[in-house]
Symmetry: C2
Subunit: 454 residues, 2 copies
């Protein structure tokens, strides 16, 4: 499909191209357009029917949008902008350099411009920043028939028509009625009789992640947004809520991997930008690991005496780190799904301690058996070491304690972080690993001191 | 709110309770009902209006559902099941023990039972397993007015009415028309004139994750599902697609933390069940770490001679692990978002190598400066070591090479895993860490051998 289109472009078969592109979906076209050479893009774009062109425009990456805007005449720009919904318009302007943004704003009328500026002013993470201002508003004394008339009148320019909002004279939200309700009731039924007054709504300044959670909890298609005076100012549609969910998950995953979250996709970030998202945690964690080094230094003499102990350091550190990150990642995900709250901390601890006990017994037994049967008896790797059995005991006891401590640290840190207002996701694997490393070495050397000096 | 309800239950003020609960939302009620004592639950449940009761029932956890089903009379059970949509019915039956499932099936008529059994037969991860069989089907020669009549007739029992599917006599999918299209066209317009023939659909056996991706890409509210003969058999609604997205993300995050995915939420899993999801990877990684131990053992003599080197092992291992997991997690997420494909492997490698270069230079410089200025000059920790400067050089060179290798391994393994049909998510932090540990030690000891024996 894609190759066929690129071929038609090269052969300049525009009428064939037009009939082919017109049948396609905007999201697919946007992907294909990414492959088109910059110089061909405005030409191809102009071939599309107006409505489809606007839809494709919305789906494109912002660098491509900018390219097109710069190629557009004022009239063309106005035509595209006229087709867009308010939330998309604002998103596009938000991504453009100041001069391009100004040019777009010049093509809009005074009222739209005022609205755009108002929407641009909402904080990036707020419900206001993802809402659109086109929605179906009804009055409570309308009949079903009158409601349908209103939908027919303003519905064409409205992104989501299936939830209609009933407001009073000062635009305060009174209730909600779905098109399904309208269709399944008699034409002369009064809206106030069928509207649902128990409306789920959010405030413009509410966190957009919270909004996404509500969509999922209540299975909504759209969510009304009200201002401080409880006046309806816009709606958020489910497709935008899905985008927020996706972005928030990516952000959480990045934080869990000790990366600073960024707004751009992988290939849209330059090398230096990527570097800047990764180096802070790497530096911090490297410096933290110095403490682990200090613990080893303080035990250096003994390590030289019992040099067999050194070989177990990576295994003990890794197993501790893995055990801890299993617990922390599980808890972080459960917090963000709403399954775990601060009040559950003891319940979580109690569960993790029991799980840790099972894991550590299994690990210590397997490790002990392997060391005794294979290394000691079979291979004789401990041949000239009179402390062999005691060394094996030290390793297994350390393993046992490390896993238990790692699970406790791993499950409790994210909950505590959340409580004091930090993002639990930063308490994931890398930080837990660094902490658990230090702890596991202290445990290791304590057991060694106790059992191997005698 | 919740306390008020529990109080009313204790005081047995049922009429007050009824008017209060009837105003509430099903999702909220389901959460509150989790707190109610088991013996009170059936009583409270019977207070609710039938439709709301069914909605609450769907939202509850399966253990609560089972409790209620066991308390229901056959008539009550039938009433609740009659209110449910087919996909919810199937989900509930799927979770119940065989005897309960059989009892539910006995309460349905032969046709419904056949349908349920058919839906139960779809594989767990398939589109068929999440679809519902109630949808609005239209014929292409109907008028808009006739379409509305059909919606009014069957819409009440249909979950999603806003996308209507146009089928031929053998139920083959011809096109799609939205209620918005119907509302914005004249009453005598023929459906074939306004339907969109470019329908996005999935097959019953398609992967449900793929389905969720399509919802997000095309901003859909519902997606038609067809069988092998291209006959329309059901639809998937956006709320179910959102649930799939959520579950798939949780599964990915679990895999990235070396946990086997499970279907249950944190507190719904027993200690032993949790143990079983965690121990396999812990054991495997512990045994893998033995190789790292073997590398150390083979270098034991030299480590005893240059005992200062031991203290840097944790820092080198951790920094390598963190660098590698940053790259692997970024790539894993980008693969699941569709930003990276196998063909991008060299583009990814080239980018990661440059990022790695920046990171490793920064880390090596900071580390070298810290060792030289603070440890060597200020604290004099290297006091009686004649090889001090060379040791610092070994550490910094190792750091540099480890970070570069870690990023290369971290970014390429997930892409290769995907290519050969494995889940890229298992190539995340823990496995990368284990591999990078071994590599970093080999690099460390090679530099040490080369620079410190002279």
């Amino acid at each position: 499909m894609e190759e066929k289109i690129l071929e038609l472009i090269n052969q300049k078969k525009f009428s064939e191209l037009k009939s082919m592109l017109s049948e396609m979906n905007a999201a697919d076209l946007a992907v294909i357009f990414e492959e088109i050479e910059e110089k061909d893009l405005p030409v191809i774009f102009r071939i599309l029917p107006k409505e489809l062109a606007a839809e494709v425009f919305v789906e494109m990456e912002s660098d491509m949008q900018q390219l097109l805007i710069e190629a557009f005449s004022d009239k063309e720009l106005r035509e595209v902008m006229d087709e867009l919904f308010m939330d998309d318009t604002v998103d596009i302007i938000d991504e453009m350099p100041a001069t391009v943004a100004k040019r777009i704003l010049r093509q809009t009328d005074a009222q739209t411009r005022r609205m755009i500026n108002q929407l641009l002013a909402y904080p990036d993470d707020s419900a206001g920043s993802i809402m659109t201002t086109e929605y179906i508003d009804l009055k409570k004394d309308m009949t079903v028939d009158m409601a349908f008339d209103r939908i027919r009148k303003i519905g064409f320019d409205t992104e989501s028509i299936y939830a209609c909002y009933v407001t009073d004279r000062s635009r305060r939200l009174l209730g909600i009625v779905s098109v399904k309700d309208l269709l399944l009731n008699q034409k002369d039924t009064v809206i106030s009789k069928i509207m649902d007054e128990n409306v789920i709504f959010v405030n413009t300044l509410d966190d957009r992640e919270e909004v996404a959670t509500q969509f999922e909890k209540y299975d909504l298609l759209a969510m009304p947004v009200v201002d401080k005076e409880n006046r309806l100012v816009g709606i958020i549609t489910v497709d935008d809520a899905i985008d927020v969910m996706k972005e928030e998950v990516t952000e959480d995953i990045e934080k869990m991997a000790a990366i600073l979250p960024s707004e751009h996709s992988y290939f849209k970030m330059g090398v230096f930008e990527t570097f800047k998202t990764r180096i802070p945690w790497l530096l911090l964690l490297m410096i933290s690991a110095t403490f682990t080094g200090a613990i080893i230094s303080s035990f250096e003499e003994k390590l030289v005496a019992f040099s067999g102990l050194i070989a177990f350091i990576p295994m003990l550190m890794d197993t501790g780190g893995n055990s801890g990150s299993q617990a922390s990642v599980t808890v972080i995900r459960s917090i963000s799904l709403g399954d775990i709250e601060f009040s559950d901390i003891f319940k979580v601890l109690w569960k993790e301690i029991r799980v840790a006990f099972c894991c550590s017994v299994a690990l210590a037994l397997v490790n002990g058996a392997k060391l005794f049967l294979i290394d000691y008896l079979l291979l004789g790797t401990f041949n000239n070491d009179t402390h062999a059995i005691r060394e094996i005991l030290v390793v297994c006891l350390t393993l046992f304690c490390t896993v238990v401590v790692a699970k406790i640290v791993g499950c409790s840190l994210p909950i505590l972080a959340k409580k004091i207002g930090f993002d639990p996701a930063v308490m994931a694997s890398p930080l837990i690993t660094t902490i658990v490393d230090a702890i596991s070495l202290i445990i290791y050397f304590s057991f060694a001191t106790f059992l191997l000096t005698a």
